[in-house]
């Protein structure tokens, strides 16, 4: 178990170093950093001075080391587009994305698990059949098309919900939240539905498949033979084993939610990190791109590592195998 943990953490550090290398190479070779620092008509000496001050005359590996050290402190320099510190830009926009992803993740679990159980326990009932069909469409529908349809129906035709922005936000320290105002909550509804829909169908289908599998196993038959009630069998015995793979997939998909928040934020003009990243991509604003990449990778790596460890804690079978290194 300990060996597994150590190996997992070392692997994560290597992934982060690789990501930092990509970010560093972007900085170093996309456009000349000196050009963005000096005036247009700077002399060669001035340029050389800036070059020396930035440490660009030193060997590459030393520059990389310093880049990693600075990145670890959250320092990514200034945005090329509006000359503000990248860390401030990201910090301003982080709460918006975090709240959106959080609400979508909770929605997908809270709706996906019960719906999956329902379709597994009564596979031939009408709701279960129609849910299966809807989930097939949900998986094939591009997320941005879903978002546009939601806006068309609920904002343009019915006029019930806002189609852009976060509504009213309340500042708590540096964190701005939309959870405490009616307008803020209303503004969250459509974007979080759009973001969670794919996730929801995935979790629903996964729970259904796992549940059907588990219900066929011997220990369930034994539980039935003992005369336990259906409720006890389904929710105390079967559900526990069903949820273990759901945790893994959910963890992995959390990364997907953060990535697809980029699309959601574009459709709903949500002032989050994803929208910032898209602007950076279309303008070739390297510092913002690099910082976003490193930050999001860090979140992914933390999630993946946590899920792996959680998995080992939750599944006793893995704990026994742990000595040989569970995967």
């Amino acid at each position: 178990m300990l060996g597994f943990l150590v190996r997992r953490v070392i692997q994560s550090v290597f992934v982060m170093l690789a990501v930092a290398l990509i970010a560093f190479l972007m900085f170093r070779f996309m456009g000349d950093p000196v050009n963005s620092m000096v005036a247009e008509n700077a002399s060669t000496e001035e340029r050389a001075a800036v070059r020396e001050r930035l440490g660009l005359d030193q060997p590459l590996w030393l520059q990389y080391g310093r880049f990693v050290a600075r990145a670890a402190q959250g320092d990514f320099g200034l945005s090329w587009r509006n000359a503000r510190p990248v860390s401030t830009l990201l910090a301003e926009r982080f709460p918006a994305t975090a709240e959106l992803v959080l609400v979508a993740a909770v929605l997908s679990l809270v709706l996906g698990i019960p719906l999956g159980i329902l379709t597994a326990l009564r596979p031939r009932s009408f709701p279960a059949q129609s849910l299966q069909l809807i989930s097939l469409i949900g998986i094939s529908l591009p997320t941005f098309v879903t978002g546009i349809l939601l806006i068309l129906v609920f904002s343009v035709w019915l006029g019930w919900l806002p189609s852009f922005g976060r509504g009213d936000v309340v500042d708590i320290g540096w964190w701005s939240t939309g959870f405490f105002t009616l307008a803020g909550l209303k503004a969250l509804i459509l974007p979080s539905i759009m973001l969670c829909l794919f996730q929801l169908t995935l979790i629903m289908r996964l729970v259904r498949a796992e549940m059907l599998e588990v219900l066929r196993t011997d220990y369930i038959k034994f539980a039935r033979a003992r005369g336990l009630s259906n409720r006890s069998i389904h929710f105390r015995h079967a559900l526990k084993n069903t949820l273990i793979p759901v945790i893994t997939i959910f963890g992995l998909q959390l990364g997907g939610l953060i990535a697809f928040a980029i699309v959601t934020e574009t459709v709903f003009q949500w002032p989050g990190m994803g929208a910032l990243f898209i602007q950076a991509v279309s303008f070739g604003d390297v510092p913002v791109m690099a910082a976003y990449l490193v930050l999001v990778s860090l979140i992914f790596v933390i999630i993946n590592t946590t899920v792996d460890l959680l998995y080992a804690v939750l599944d006793p079978r893995l704990r026994v195998d742990g000595a040989r290194g569970a995967h």
Partner: protein, 303 residues
């Protein structure tokens, strides 16, 4: 003739004749491919040619709606472009990017998988580590990143011309991992077999064994991956174009058309966004259904 009758009685053909999803999705795809191929013949106007656009005809609803014009079956957008014609040309671009990026991903993935599986050791380890890292990031993020890097390197005035190549590169570089993993797995199995040893004894070079002997035997599952991959590639292209970092508005793909339509959603001009969306969804759904069927039909364990 004999080959035809043999093909007709093969397992795959039998499965095809007995699966309505396979037949319907093939029919849909055939229609869409033909429409894309014959776009210049089927279109009523060339949406790239400004001299064919009449501004008086802008924002017309579909022909059957009130105020519609029979010349513009699916209506027109704010620049008087015929929606039906732009969809045909857009479909064409979407499919070109889709097929080209699948080909690129396949070429990279098959080469690396073959190399890793055949050589083993350090080479294999290095390739698979890169694949692992790439796989732990959502595809759309990797594609966006490659796209952003390419845009950063190219001068801004070249962005529009280079867009199609940048897209193909970005999507191709994102999707090769699955090919590499599958091909690597089968290569490691094939490598042990007697025909490979026989080739070695005959003095065939490592390269020759890989390309001439192992490659033809590991290509089976690649077809399934490629089909499923095509759906994903089309979707990724549409997403990137929708986000405004894909095909430019002067050369719109389906995703770009949806992006354009989205901007006019609030003026009640729904047809500009809805029709390209429907075509995109039908295309992706048909490719996915066909891919699912192919995967099941070629999987011997499910027979």
């Amino acid at each position: 003739m004999q080959a035809l009758s043999r093909a007709y009685s093969s397992d795959l053909a039998w499965s095809f004749r007995h699966s309505w999803t396979a037949r319907i999705s093939t029919l849909l795809l055939a229609v869409l491919f033909l429409a894309a191929l014959l776009a210049p013949l089927l279109a009523t106007q060339n949406p790239y040619d400004i001299s064919q656009l009449f501004l008086l005809d802008s924002e017309l609803p579909p022909a059957w709606a009130e105020g519609g014009d029979p010349r513009y079956f699916l209506g027109t957008d704010e620049q008087a472009r015929d929606v039906y014609s732009s969809i045909l040309y857009g479909l064409r671009l979407s499919l070109i990017v889709g097929f080209a990026s699948v080909a690129l991903a396949g070429a990279i993935g098959i080469s690396l998988g073959l190399l890793g599986g055949f050589m083993g050791g350090m080479v294999d380890g290095a390739i698979m580590r890169v694949a692992d890292i790439l796989l732990s990031f959502p595809a759309i993020l990797v594609a966006l990143l490659v796209n952003g890097i390419a845009r950063g390197i190219l001068p801004p005035d070249r962005h529009a011309d280079a867009a199609i190549w940048v897209l193909i590169l970005a999507i191709g570089l994102t999707n090769w991992v699955q090919y590499a993993r599958t091909v690597r797995g089968s290569t490691m199995v094939e490598r042990q077999k007697e025909y490979v040893q026989a080739a070695r004894i005959n003095g065939v070079s490592g390269m020759g064994i890989m390309v001439q002997h192992i490659l033809p035997n590991v290509l089976g599952p690649v077809l399934v991956i490629a089909t499923i991959n095509l759906g994903m590639a089309v979707l990724t292209e549409a997403t990137l174009s929708f986000l405004g970092v894909g095909m430019p508005t002067t050369q719109p793909s389906l995703g770009t058309l949806i992006r354009i339509g989205n901007e006019y959603l609030f003026s009640g001009i729904w047809w500009v966004v809805i029709f390209p969306s429907i075509v995109l969804v039908v295309l992706v759904l048909a490719v996915n259904l066909l891919g699912d069927w192919l995967r099941d039909a070629l999987n011997p364990r499910l027979r």
